[in-house]
Amino acid sequence: MSSDTTGVLPREGVAVSGVRAALLQKRTRLGEHAYTVVRWGGAAVFAAVVVALLISVAGSSSQALTRSGVGFLWSGTWNPAAGEYGAGILVVGTLLTTAVAMVIVVPIGLGTAAFLSELAPGWLAGPLSTLIGLLAAVPSIVVGLWGLIVLTPIFANQVEPFLASMPLLGWLFRGEAYGPSVLLASVVLAVMTLPTMVALSRTALAAVPVADREAALALGATRWQAVRKAVIPAARSGIQAAVTLAVGRAMGESIAVAMVIGNRPALPTSLTAPGATLGSAIVNQFAEASPGLGTSSVIALGAVLLLLTVAVNAGGQALLRSGGGHRAGTAGALR
């Protein structure tokens, strides 16, 4: 009985494994096909979504764009109550808040990233990274509420009067200290974009070969000099990518900005003056359902915002390509 079974089993086993191998091969081929379909399908869906978005935004905003033409872009007045629609001041507000936010976030973000990747002891770097990661998970409306409830009175009563009283730079912050202002909006944007900036620059810095650091140190550089002269330049393209992403996020943010910028569609006379951005104007006006020109103009603001974002992203990519040539390795680490 035992000899019989041992005689049969191997033969059966061979047969089974042969079938399994065939099946396996077939399954692999099936998998290949499925993967190809998923790959192309995914790409097609993504492209279709982008194209559909562009078409619908362009279609819905056509009424505003045909009435004002390209002038919509720089026409200065945004006053829906009087039926005057122009995006110019909002474009300025968007670029200004984004620029000021970057002035705040780039040095702080880069410094934090350099500290985390080069200088911080392990017991500190871990928890600190986790904290910054947590900051990235805070919804923008919560950051906006924090800006409105906590930062607004501090800015109105302390920060803005102090800035205005500074001897040389005071003129940048002159005017009434309302609290909600271009500056406060920029600070809130800086808080929101800081995690992106830190995480991406840290990856870029960590991708710089250890040999670069050691070479600098061997030549007698201090740790600070090694970071500044060897590591940061080598990670330049990665840092540029981080800034590009942060700029994109800052330009598109709407709800939080609308809560802290003061919503004044006029050219800001100083950094502490209230202002308005494309995003905040959309938030405030989108519900006003008066069909026709009003709705169309609000969607046209969305189209302008889309164009601005695309332009900034393209600019960032171009910078990456021109600057990242001699250090393709570090740039590649991020792509």
Binding site: Y178, R264, A287
Partner: protein, 393 residues
Amino acid sequence: MITLSGTRGRKNTLVGLSALALVSVIAACGSASGGGSTPAASATASPCASNTVLSATCDTKTQAAVTLTGAGANSIEPFFETVFYGYNQKNSQTTVNYSPAGSSVGVSDIQQGTVNFGDSEIPMTSSQLAAATGGTVLQIPVDLGGVAISYNVPGAPANLKLDGSTLAGIFDGSITNWDSPLIAAVSGVSNLPNLAIKAVHRADASGPGYDLDQYLIDTAPAWVTAIGTSTPSRTWPLATVGIGEQLNTGVATYVSQTSGSVGFVEYGYALQNGFVNAAILDAAGAYVAPTEASIALAGAQATSLSSTNFNVVNETGAGVYPLANFSWTLVYQKQSETTTAIALGKLLDWVVTTGQQDAAALGYAPLPANVASLAQKTILEIEGSTGTPLFSS
């Protein structure tokens, strides 16, 4: 929303403190109502035999569980929240979710048919009605509220007297300091502090903004010159002066925390926040502060109210507060789903009758009798999918 949850939190703490005492009270109530409910139910059974009778005793009796969704005016939120909660206590089968995203959202949501009811501080215009996708929209006045001019000025008395010209000056930027002689002349208060005026208006389109715009157009020629039109607008017409904040809550938050600020909010919100409010010059020549009584007097002037004749701003009459308005609930006349329609009609009938008892404590005035009957008459026009009226009185 922020301030509301704050109040509720405080109440909860109080409840927690006296929890032990309450347990025995609740137990007592439970047994009392349990004993009394059986005969009461059998007594009212015959008039409410049909589920489509609208009357205070029958409103809370429905058969199926229904969740109603609404969206609209931010100003009515404190009132709606209390009334809907009270209704749900009486009739746990009906749950209401109301999103206080603003009057303009109420209008657009009912136009698209994404909610069971909308609410707007200003009735829908004929062009807005024409854009409604579900046919005829019934507009039902559900509450009477006022707009408070609230200020945060250290050392200033309550009920500072202001007229149309000074208010226009504050909101068009021609009066920039609280110690301005123009304010002193009107208010009779000469010792207001040397403090910059921080005027805050609504950044989104709003009912309170419309009412104040209407009042300033009526009373201040300089305002008409400044905004270049004499047609009031829900979107604040002079957004380039002062700052804009979203919803009543945003304006209230700014006023409460910023010294020198002045803004307009629904009176219910001013009451919740404990704001001091200006006394406004009314058409009879008196300075009147917002109270439940002075707002009620304004509503009483609306003898021929309708969705096209809705303006109760700057009404004549002694003691009338000039910034008052009705809030309008928007529902489609023709309802596709009978169970939902019946629950909706009964809820609205409760809101305009029994629910009005909650109004005064929240900073609103109960609907005048003629307006309440207009509201009930409009609710009776709700039809089922076959086009026949669903309700009888």
